[in-house]
């Protein structure tokens, strides 16, 4: 078994089929599966449903490339200097991508329901918000008290695609720093694909404590240093405002294909 999970980026991305639901790890520009998203775009994948709490680069890119047909997320935007994700925004406004706007917490609740093997998760009332009605979230009678309780349906991704600092040949993945929703996504999804900065032969105790993605549910591991760029993957690299600008500049000029050819992996 050991070793067979280590495949090329090309092979790993080929596991994803048109129409699959993908939970994407990381948050905003931190520890995101950026290179994997570029490869999906290069391979011309279509009809993907993307699941994320808060994202930007890879949502924007897959919306522009025509790979994503819908996005389940709480927040899609760059921060500060880069502002809104323009490709995503236009794709939604033009009806090419359906934005299933959630609260970040209802994405988490849907993933929790999937992780716990139940059809829904009760959540605190999102009083005054249009999100529950827009998403068709339903209420059930409180079986132990008064009133009704808001629920969120289980959200079961076909794949959790995570960029992690380290993985071993058996597919065990190690995350340093904030976990974001990565671990939950790995539990909720039917299967997991990892891209990793480093491939480990052995783990020390500190790494084992952080090895929260067991290999038995991981279908493929790609050794992919820099796989989070232009985002950050601490402690390896910071995010690059220059590379984000390069992406936005190229994409906004309609040169996404050239960008994808140039920026490899």
């Amino acid at each position: 078994m050991a070793g067979k999970k280590l495949v090329s980026l090309d092979e790993a991305a080929s596991l994803v089929k048109d129409g699959d639901t993908l939970a994407l790890g990381g948050n905003l520009l931190y520890r995101i599966p950026a290179a994997f998203a570029r490869e999906l775009a290069r391979q011309g994948r279509r009809g993907l449903r993307l699941v994320k709490t808060a994202g930007n680069y890879e949502i924007d890119l897959l919306s522009r490339s025509g790979s994503a047909s819908s996005v389940v997320a709480g927040f899609v935007s760059f921060e500060a200097e880069f502002g809104l994700a323009p490709g995503f925004r236009r794709a939604v406004e033009e009806g090419r991508v359906s934005f299933e706007e959630n609260a970040c917490y209802t994405v988490i609740a849907g993933l929790r329901a999937a992780a716990y093997g139940v059809p829904f998760m009760p959540v605190a009332e999102l009083a005054g918000s249009r999100v529950p009605a827009d998403r068709g979230f339903r209420r059930v009678p409180n079986p132990y008290g008064e009133g009704e309780v808001l629920t969120v349906p289980a959200l079961i991704p076909d794949w959790a695609v995570l960029h992690v600092q380290k993985a071993d040949l058996r597919g065990n993945g190690v995350i340093h720093g904030p976990l974001f929703e990565d671990v939950l996504m790995a539990r909720a999804a039917r299967s997991v694909i990892l891209t990793a900065e480093e491939i480990l032969e052995e783990m020390d105790e500190g790494e084992l404590d952080r090895a929260l993605i067991p290999g038995f549910k991981v279908a493929a591991v790609v050794h992919l240093p820099g796989g989070g760029r232009p985002g950050a993957c601490p402690p390896y690299y910071e995010y690059s405002p220059v590379e984000v600008a390069e992406y936005l500049y190229a994409a906004e000029r309609g040169e996404l294909a050239a960008y994808l050819e140039k920026v490899r992996p």
């Binding site: 931190y30 808060a54 927040f75 406004e93 609260a103 999102l126 005054g128 999100v131 904030p178």
Partner: protein, 246 residues
């Protein structure tokens, strides 16, 4: 870069400084406070409050460490530098849970639109039921706003497109504590948000003209004390407090 309100008044401070100071003062009695994505002014307010008014304030943020003491303020509010010097670990999902349980004291939220009831819109601008402008999505706000005990709204723009009678779409609503803008400070009243104070560079007429709902008279916002400005400049030597005004 658009003009920073108050910058022309030569007071030695302008809207970014005053907004941070006003928000910091509002944290004097807070127990726990949460700052989310793209929240530069709130992060600075927390740090200022902890230095001057409330050393026991517990700060929760996205990078996952409780009560960090970052050596610098990064340009991303998800940056691990915002975890530095923390005293324990707590994931964002667990911070949401904390709020859902009613244990979160103060949260900072913003909106592209804020209306008189305090409802915020981060979802989209609709016209005639049709999508006109897609916005970012509300991140954690739909949960945080109704479940945190007190929500401190801030918005670095104050105009009739931002402060409206009624939001196009209510992304979130809830327990509003105050709304801080570059022109004024609002608090909840019987008929919705009412003026609490007007910043020194703004007149009541200007505020009225820039606000999409009626407002009454109010005193002038107490200016920052020299110590507040000194500590703020120490905390924020790179003037990240101006990012939201660009």
């Amino acid at each position: 870069m658009r003009k920073i309100p108050g910058a022309g008044a030569r007071l030695g401070y302008a809207a970014p400084e005053l907004m941070v100071v006003v928000m910091a003062r509002l944290l004097s009695d807070a127990t726990t406070v949460f700052t989310g994505v793209a929240s530069y002014l709130p992060v600075l307010a927390v740090l200022l409050a902890r230095r001057l008014y409330n050393p026991d304030l517990v700060w929760l943020n996205i990078p996952g460490r409780v009560n960090p003491a970052p050596s610098r303020i990064p340009r991303s509010t998800v940056h691990p530098a915002l975890a530095e010097g923390g005293e324990a670990s707590l994931t964002l999902a667990e911070i949401f849970d904390l709020s859902a349980r009613g244990e979160l004291d103060v949260a900072f939220l913003s909106g592209v639109q804020v209306d008189r009831t305090g409802a915020i819109n981060l979802s989209r601008i609709e016209e005639g039921g049709q999508l006109k402008v897609q916005l970012t999505g509300g991140a954690g706000s739909a949960l945080i706003y109704p479940t945190a005990r007190r929500t401190l709204l801030w918005r670095a723009k104050h105009d009739t497109r931002s402060l409206v009678e009624r939001v196009s779409v209510a992304t979130a609503a809830g327990n509003i504590y105050r709304l801080v803008t570059p022109l004024a400070l609002f608090r909840p009243g019987k008929e919705g948000l009412e003026l609490e104070s007007i910043h020194p560079w703004a007149s009541l007429e200007e505020v009225r003209a820039a606000t999409g709902f009626p407002v009454g008279e109010a005193p002038t916002t107490p200016p920052p004390r020299p110590e507040e400005l000194r500590v703020l400049r120490e905390i924020d030597p790179e003037k990240l407090r101006e990012i939201e005004f660009s």
